[in-house]
C-alpha cells in the first residue's frame, strides 16, 4: 500500500458493546489501516473531532444496543458542518431495536447519509475489502 489510510472507529451513543469494536480494530490494523479507535460510549462529536484531528479518510460507526436509529440521526449533516464533506461513512451492528427485515433498515441508514450499512454478524473481511475499494487502495 502506497500510503496508509486512516479510519476512525467507535461505538456510538450510550452503547458499551466493546467486543466487536476490539476485533474490528485488530482486523483493520492488520489490513494495513491506521486505526483511531475511540471505543464505546462515543458521541457523534467525538467521532468527528477524532476524524478532523487525524485527517481521517473514513469513519466506522458501530451500534449494537438498539438505539442506533436515535443515535445516528444527523451524523452526515454534522460531518458536513464540520468540514468533513467527503469522508466515507460506514455503519454496522445491530442497528435497530428487535429482529427486523434488513432492507428497510439498510435503506433507513443509507438515507441518513451512510455510504455502506452492515447487518448483524458481519465479519471484518467484508468492510475491509469495501473500504479498500471505496478509498481506492490497491494491494
Amino acid at each position: 500500500m502506497a500510503e496508509k489510510k486512516t479510519v476512525v472507529m467507535g461505538v456510538i451513543g450510550s452503547d458499551v458493546h466493546a467486543v466487536g469494536n476490539r476485533i474490528l480494530e485488530e482486523a483493520f490494523t492488520k489490513a494495513g489501516f491506521d486505526v483511531v479507535n475511540i471505543g464505546v460510549l462515543a458521541p457523534q462529536e467525538e467521532f468527528i473531532n477524532a476524524a478532523i484531528e487525524t485527517d481521517a479518510d473514513a469513519i466506522l460507526v458501530s451500534s449494537l444496543y438498539g438505539h442506533g436509529e436515535l443515535d445516528c440521526k444527523g451524523f452526515r449533516e454534522k460531518c458536513i458542518e464540520s468540514g468533513l464533506e467527503d469522508i466515507t461513512l460506514y455503519v454496522g451492528g445491530n442497528l435497530v431495536v428487535g429482529k427486523q427485515e434488513w432492507e428497510p433498515t439498510e435503506d433507513k441508514f443509507l438515507e441518513m447519509g451512510f455510504d455502506r450499512v452492515y447487518p448483524p454478524g458481519t465479519l471484518p473481511e467484508e468492510p475491509i475489502a469495501d473500504l479498500k475499494q471505496d478509498l481506492g487502495v490497491t494491494n
Binding site: S14, V19, E26, V97, G98
Partner: protein, 482 residues
C-alpha cells in the same frame, strides 16, 4: 469521601439520600416508611427471596427472562405474556440504556417517541421516569416477584424508586455494573454508589423487608474465566452484606464446557459460603446465565445453545437460570421469541430436575483449580487493601490483580486474554497480572498447549478471536478455519 468497607451510618446515608432523590422529579414520591408498609403487604409469591429460598430447598431451578419496553401498559402485557406463555417463574424488568447512563431526559424523549410511534423505541423500561407509582402498577398487575435488571454504574435513584415501587430484587454491583458497562467511571465512584444501594437494601432488611441482591455474574459475557467472575461476585457479596444485605444470588455466565460449568456453580456456592461465614443469616442462592456471548443467528441453532444452557443449569442445580431467546443474535426479542426461549428451557429444567451431575475426578480437579485461582486473587485483594476490601478492590484493578476480559472500562487493566482449551473450557492464555501460583499458571498453560498441538498453531490472539466467533458459528472451540 473516605472509602472503606464499613457500614454507612444512617446520618451519612440520609444526607446523600436527599441529594439522590432530587436528581429527577420522580424522586420526590419516595417515602421510605410507606414503602416498608407497602412491601409488608405484598403476598409471599411476589417476594423474590421467598421464592428463591423455596426453590433452593426443593433443589429446582427457576427460570427468568430478560424483558423491558418503554411504556407501562405494554411492559405489563409483555411480562404477563412471558408468565403465561413462557411459564417464567420470576420476572425481570430490564432498564433502558439511557436510564442506565442516568440520561433521564433522553429516556423521557424515548417514552414520548414510543407513545407517538406506538412501539418501543427504548431498549428497556425507563423506571425512573415512570416513578414509584408506575412501578407499583407492574407489581400489582403481576403474580410473580419482579427484579430490576440494568447495568447502571450509578443506580442509586433507580434503586430508591424501584424498591419503593415494590420490586423485591435488584441486580448489579460496584464492579459488575461498572467495568462491563462504563468507560470513564472510576471504581471508587461505583463502589461508593453501590454502598449506598446496599445500605438502602440493608435498611429495608432492618425493617423486616426482604430485598434480594444479585451481583451481575457474567460481566462482559465473553470468555470470562470462572475465577475472574467468582472473585468479583464474592467481593460484591461481601461489600453488600457489610451494608446489611441479607439475601444474595451470585451469578455465573455459562462458558459451555459441562464440567467447567458445573464446577463453577458448585465452587461459587462453596467459596461464597466460606467467605461469608462471618455474617449470620445470609441466604445464598445461585444464578446461571445461559451463554452470554455472541449467538448464532439461526433460530434452530440458537435453540440448541439455549437448551444446552438449560441442561447445564439443571445438572448443576443452580437456583435460577437467566434465559436467552432465539432472536438473541439479531435484536431485542419479540414476546413470542422470548416465551419460546423460556419454554425450551422449562422443558429441560423439568426433564432434568431429578438428575444431578455425579461427581468424578475431572469435576473435582476443575473445582480445585477454580477455588485455587479465586482464592489467590482474593487473598491478594485483601493484602492490597491491608484488610479493607474496598481499598483492596480499587488497588487490585489498578494493579490488574482483578482484570476482566474485553471490558470497555479505562479502569480495567485489560491485560488478560482468555481462550478455550481443547475441550472448550475457558483458560488463561495471558494471565496478565493475576496473582497466580506457578501451579495455576502451569495448569492453564498445559491445557492451552494441548489445544495448540491439536490445531498445529501457537495459542495466540487469533485463537481468542476464533473463540469469540465460535458459538455464533455453530461450535464451541474456535478451530482454525478450514
Amino acid at each position: 469521601m473516605k472509602l472503606e468497607n464499613k457500614k454507612w451510618d444512617l446520618e451519612k446515608f440520609k444526607q446523600v439520600r436527599a441529594e439522590i432523590l432530587g436528581q429527577w422529579p420522580t424522586g420526590e414520591a419516595v417515602d421510605f416508611d410507606e414503602a416498608i408498609a407497602y412491601h409488608k403487604n405484598l403476598p409471599t409469591e411476589k417476594v423474590m427471596a421467598d421464592k428463591l429460598a423455596k426453590a433452593k430447598e426443593e433443589g429446582i431451578s427457576l427460570i427468568q427472562p430478560r424483558a423491558g419496553v418503554a411504556l407501562i401498559d405494554q411492559h405489563i402485557e409483555l411480562l404477563q405474556f412471558l408468565r403465561e406463555e413462557g411459564k417464567a417463574d420470576v420476572l425481570p424488568t430490564t432498564i433502558d440504556s439511557y436510564t442506565r447512563q442516568n440520561n433521564y431526559q433522553e429516556a423521557a424523549d424515548g417514552i414520548k417517541e414510543s407513545r407517538n410511534e406506538g412501539r418501543s423505541l427504548l431498549n428497556g423500561f425507563p423506571a425512573v421516569n415512570h416513578g414509584v407509582e408506575g412501578c407499583r402498577k407492574l407489581v400489582e398487575a403481576l403474580d410473580a416477584p419482579l427484579q430490576v435488571r440494568h447495568g447502571t454504574p450509578d443506580a442509586r435513584l433507580l434503586a430508591e424508586i424501584t424498591l419503593a415501587g415494590g420490586f423485591t430484587d435488584y441486580e448489579g454491583g460496584g464492579i459488575s455494573y461498572n467495568i462491563p458497562y462504563a468507560k470513564e467511571v472510576s471504581i471508587e465512584q461505583t463502589l461508593y454508589d453501590w454502598q449506598y444501594v446496599d445500605r438502602l437494601i440493608g435498611l429495608y432488611e432492618e425493617h423486616g423487608v426482604k430485598i434480594n441482591r444479585e451481583p451481575f455474574g457474567p460481566l462482559t459475557g465473553t470468555l470470562v474465566p470462572p475465577s475472574v467472575s467468582h472473585s468479583v461476585a464474592i467481593i460484591e457479596a461481601l461489600l453488600a452484606v457489610e451494608q446489611g444485605v441479607k439475601n444474595l444470588t451470585l451469578g455465573y455466565g455459562q462458558c459451555g464446557n459441562l464440567i467447567q460449568d458445573v464446577a463453577a456453580i458448585k465452587t461459587l456456592e462453596e467459596l461464597a459460603e466460606e467467605y461469608l461465614a462471618d455474617y449470620d443469616d445470609v441466604m445464598l442462592t445461585t444464578v446461571f446465565h445461559q451463554w452470554m456471548g455472541g449467538f448464532p443467528q439461526d433460530e434452530a441453532q440458537a435453540f440448541g445453545v439455549i437448551s444446552w444452557g438449560a441442561a447445564t443449569a439443571a445438572l448443576a442445580k443452580a437456583t435460577k437460570v437467566i434465559v436467552k431467546t432465539p432472536h438473541e443474535a439479531l435484536g431485542i426479542p419479540t414476546k413470542e421469541a422470548n416465551a419460546q426461549g423460556l419454554r425450551a428451557t422449562k422443558q429441560l429444567i423439568n426433564m432434568l430436575k431429578d438428575q444431578e451431575f455425579a461427581s468424578n475426578d475431572k469435576l473435582e480437579k476443575e473445582k480445585e483449580m477454580i477455588k485455587k485461582e479465586t482464592r489467590q486473587i482474593l487473598d491478594r485483594v485483601f493484602e492490597l487493601g491491608n484488610g479493607d476490601l474496598v481499598q483492596g478492590t480499587v488497588k487490585a484493578f489498578t494493579a490488574g490483580v482483578i482484570d476482566i476480559p474485553f471490558a470497555p472500562s479505562r479502569y480495567n487493566a485489560g491485560n488478560i486474554l482468555p481462550a478455550r482449551d481443547n475441550e472448550g473450557a475457558v483458560r488463561y492464555l495471558n494471565p496478565g497480572n493475576l496473582p497466580f501460583s506457578d501451579e495455576v499458571l502451569k495448569f492453564n498453560q498445559t491445557k492451552l498447549e494441548e489445544r495448540g498441538k491439536e490445531e498445529l498453531r501457537e495459542p495466540n490472539f487469533q485463537m481468542v478471536i476464533d473463540d469469540i466467533y465460535a458459538i455464533g458459528k455453530g461450535k464451541l472451540v474456535g478451530r482454525p478455519r478450514e
